[in-house]
């Protein structure tokens, strides 16, 4: 467990001192979302109708943007070999790195999302569903993304490849995330959507670190 804490602290410290990833991801999120009014027109009704989809797709792409560097630096400078040789279980190491990644990229997205929803004229009663959905959904994005990031280590054009690998796997999260917001906007209950997202989060938490650890071992072999 001490390995878990140490790695988490190290990754957080690295992210905070370099600062670039969080800022880049947030900037991408804001810019991508603000492009849509130019694309589909600035009518408030149109924007309100598609706000949930825009926010979720932009969050998905923003999360993807930083994922290919989840293990990349450690792989290149050899830290990964030491981490895998350490007594801590590799699955715990994956969880620690994924948690650090989520805290520095996913959580800021969740916090920023209401502001962007405001720009897109999302109905006020849909805000809880948006925030809760993103809070449950973005960790899943990180966990599934960790598998992809481990798989593409050492590949040519790893970043582009990563999007091809994991975007199809993100579709269920997108469906239920947007579904929750739309259900809330039309005054229906969105509890089912959140429960399903929660179930997916638990499933991903149980399986993804294990698979990512296997993939990491294959990469380091």
């Amino acid at each position: 467990m001490s390995g878990f804490g140490a790695l988490l602290r190290r990754d957080l410290r690295l992210a905070l001192r370099q600062g670039s990833d969080t800022a880049t991801v947030l900037a991408f999120f804001v810019i991508a979302v603000s492009l849509f009014p130019f694309g589909v027109g600035a009518e408030r009704e149109t924007l309100a109708a598609i706000a949930a989809g825009i926010l979720w797709v932009a969050a998905l792409l923003a999360a993807l943007l930083s994922l290919d560097r989840l293990f990349q630096a450690d792989y290149e400078d050899g830290t990964l070999d030491y981490l895998l040789a350490a007594p801590a279980a590799p699955t715990l190491l994956v969880v620690a790195k994924a948690l650090a990644h989520w805290l520095t990229t996913g959580l800021p997205l969740v916090i920023l999302s209401p502001l962007l929803a405001l720009l897109l004229n999302l109905p006020p009663k849909a805000y809880p569903a948006l925030i809760a959905g993103l809070a449950l959904g973005t960790p899943i994005l990180t966990l599934i993304g960790a598998i992809g990031a481990a798989l593409v280590l050492g590949a040519r054009r790893g970043g582009v490849l990563l999007s091809l690998l994991i975007l199809p796997l993100y579709i269920p999260i997108l469906i239920f995330g947007v579904g929750a917001v739309e259900a809330a906007a039309t005054g229906q209950g969105f509890r089912v959507h959140l429960l399903l997202l929660g179930a997916m989060l638990l499933g991903a938490l149980a399986l993804a670190p294990f698979v990512a650890a296997v993939a990491l071992r294959q990469a380091a072999e």
């Binding site: 590949a155 091809l164 199809p168 399986l207």
Partner: protein, 247 residues
């Protein structure tokens, strides 16, 4: 069974096995597909005339349904081969997965193309975000990811291992994706486009349909054996080249 599978790990033995089996699968594929096409296109009755039924358009199913079946079957084969490669380190597993995946992608693409042609005639649109079409599209993306990952590394062995893990991740995710697409579809799609109580399939159509399904399956095994043999030869060439470079 497992002893026999392990015997095939020897490339020379696999080559002999492929040589013995290939003529059978190839001829059976040609016979089944030939007979199925003639029966399906010329002999089987057309559907009811257009406003109510599907008319001649119904004949697309003789290619569409077997392709759809194959696109799933091939993914199952890729996953099984990947599991064999990862769990038992069976050397043939990676080769089979690598050889089968592009074939599966082609079947998925054929499913999409024929489905789209059918949709253009029956729904008046080339593409509809119908649950089944969407699921096949996602399956096609999964195939593309698998193929891309296989070929993304300078070391083919590393690509094979990574792709094997991806194939297994895909198997776990496919039911979740299918379920969520169905859910999404029932929420978004007007129900009028697809009639759920479509006419039950005529026995006259079932026979050519099954012929085509068997034909496609034999065709897949023929191509798989050919491609696996080519992969083995390529591996051997690579090893020889590396040895020449080292000498």
């Amino acid at each position: 069974m497992s002893a026999r599978l392990h015997a095939l790990a020897n490339p020379a033995r696999f080559g002999r096995f492929a040589r013995r089996v290939l003529p059978w699968t190839a001829w059976l594929a040609a016979l089944c597909i030939g007979a199925g096409l003639v029966w399906g296109v010329f002999i089987a009755p057309p559907g009811a005339p257009p406003p109510e039924g599907q008319g001649e358009t119904v004949r697309i199913i003789y290619v569409h349904v077997p392709s759809a079946w194959m696109s799933l079957f091939v993914y199952a084969c890729v996953a099984a081969a990947s599991a064999g490669a990862l769990i038992w380190r069976h050397p043939l597993g990676h080769i089979v997965a690598r050889a089968a995946s592009p074939v599966g992608a082609c079947f998925a693409l054929l499913t999409l193309a024929t489905g789209s042609l059918w949709g253009a005639k029956m729904w008046g649109a080339w593409w509809v975000w119908d649950a089944r079409l969407t699921s096949v599209l996602i399956l096609f993306f999964l195939y593309l990811g698998h193929i891309a990952l296989t070929h993304a590394f300078d070391d083919p062995a590393r690509g094979a291992r990574a792709a094997a893990i991806l194939a297994l991740v895909g198997v776990v995710n496919l039911p979740i994706i299918k379920f969520s697409v169905d859910w999404w579809n029932t929420l978004h799609q007007p129900a009028s486009i697809i009639r759920r109580d479509g006419p039950a399939i005529d026995a006259q159509m079932l026979a050519p349909l099954f012929l085509m399904i068997f034909g496609f399956t034999f065709y897949f095994f023929t191509v798989l054996l050919l491609r696996a043999r080519a992969e083995l030869a390529a591996l051997r060439t690579r090893a020889l080249k590396l040895r020449m470079l080292a000498a």
